[in-house]
Amino acid sequence: MAGGVDLISLMKDGVVEPKALVNLKTIQDLTYIREDAEGLKIGALTSIDEIENARVIKDKYTMIAEAAHSVASPQVRNMATIGGNLCQEVRCWYYRRSPVTGTSFYCLRKGGKHCYAIAGRNEYHAIFRTGKCFAVCPSDLAPALIALEAKVKVARLDGERVVPLERFYTPLGNILEPDEIITEILVPAQPPDSKQKYLKFRLRKSIDFAISSVAASIIAESGRITKARIVLGGVAPTPYRAIRAEEVLKGQMITASVVEASAKAAVKEAKPLSLNAYKVPITEALVKRAIVG
């Protein structure tokens, strides 16, 4: 357990019932933000509050500061860590349904056979069908970090591995083994002319999780886009890389018609459920705005 924000809620709801908790905050030296020629290194126990306020992040990795600032509330940002933000569980109300408040659902994510959102209430669920579970990855930092090609360092007792964050997530969770933890997040140095933008749509600006979010990282040479990465949050069980949207941008100047076409391509493969089609135009609009910056 690091900040505990997600885990204690899950324990209160009886979704997880650990026999013991290990307090990761007793590990020395996992709270830091450092920059060198390779890029940015963030210790996994660094709080979201420290990340949104770090000068180097505000100046050079603006999208990470934007994403951090958009997380939950000031209190949560004081408590929650970046490692926890990346590993947090989905907010699906079938998955989280509490034995304390009513019947709980033995859903697909818990080892059952069905995703109850498909035939049930699904207004906040996935619009991209990348798996059989339709809960969405709630992390704000994950899309921003994936757009910047971040990697995570994963450690266990007898060694460590470095994994691109893009490959960290699986349809029902992440690649961490029970004896592994994230220790560091590495973000490569960004070219000085890179444009970054993180945008998030939510019901209440003060606190909510994303209905949809977009992280865009765009690099251009004399106005022509040489590289674009667009990652969507809140719309799939994992952060969703909008590769079609990136392809539309490549080699182009940013014009209204290019932006329009890219945003359309971003949601081309969306297959909304019965109650969440409204997320498609919201996502498309966010992509447009994020590209324009």
Binding site: G4, I8, S9, L21, K25, A72, P74, Q75, N78, K205
Partner: protein, 166 residues
């Protein structure tokens, strides 16, 4: 894990309390049930409302999602620690909430006041937007936000003008 008893010392409002706690007890549980400090409210009990906000080492955090065991060696401030312990004189933020009608039902008030205290420690002269931003995690179900923001601005003015040292 459940039912294992640990003995800890908690520093709450500058007093040390030696307590026996279970591993899974939250700070909110311990403040309310063991210390009788029921000024700290628990509403949603899942981190979504801010009613249980206390200051730990001067930062606003949610006591409903903080394990009591983790709080050893830290300074905890609750609403009961805001007034002057010798004279009972209210803190200027409390005074402002009384004078400018900052509370309706009152359940969000302790959390609002503690969050405001952390803001004014860092930023004695906030703008209205900064107050709203700082209080973003404190939900008032009566919808009294306009007056609450006015109270914090009034308190800031009082504290800048006065010789208040808390």
């Amino acid at each position: 894990m459940a039912n294992e008893i640990y003995t800890i010392t908690l520093a709450v409002n500058s007093d040390d309390y030696q307590l026996e706690v279970e591993a899974q007890w939250t700070l909110a549980d311990v403040l309310r049930e063991k210390l009788g400090l029921t000024g700290t409210k628990t509403m949603c009990n899942e981190g979504g409302c801010g009613a249980c906000t206390v200051l730990i080492d001067q930062k606003p955090v949610l006591s409903c999602l903080t394990l009591a065991l983790e709080c050893e060696g830290k300074n905890i401030l609750t609403i009961e620690g805001m007034a002057d312990p010798a004279t009972g004189e209210l803190h200027p933020i409390q005074t402002a909430f009384v004078e400018h009608s900052g509370m309706q039902c009152g359940v969000c008030t302790p959390g609002m006041i503690l969050t405001a205290k952390a803001l004014l420690n860092d930023n004695p002269n906030p703008t209205e937007a900064e107050v709203r931003e700082a209080l973003a995690g404190n939900i008032c179900r009566c919808g009294n936000y306009k007056r609450i923001v006015e109270c914090v601005l009034a308190a800031a003015e009082m504290m800048r003008g006065g010789n208040w040292n808390a």
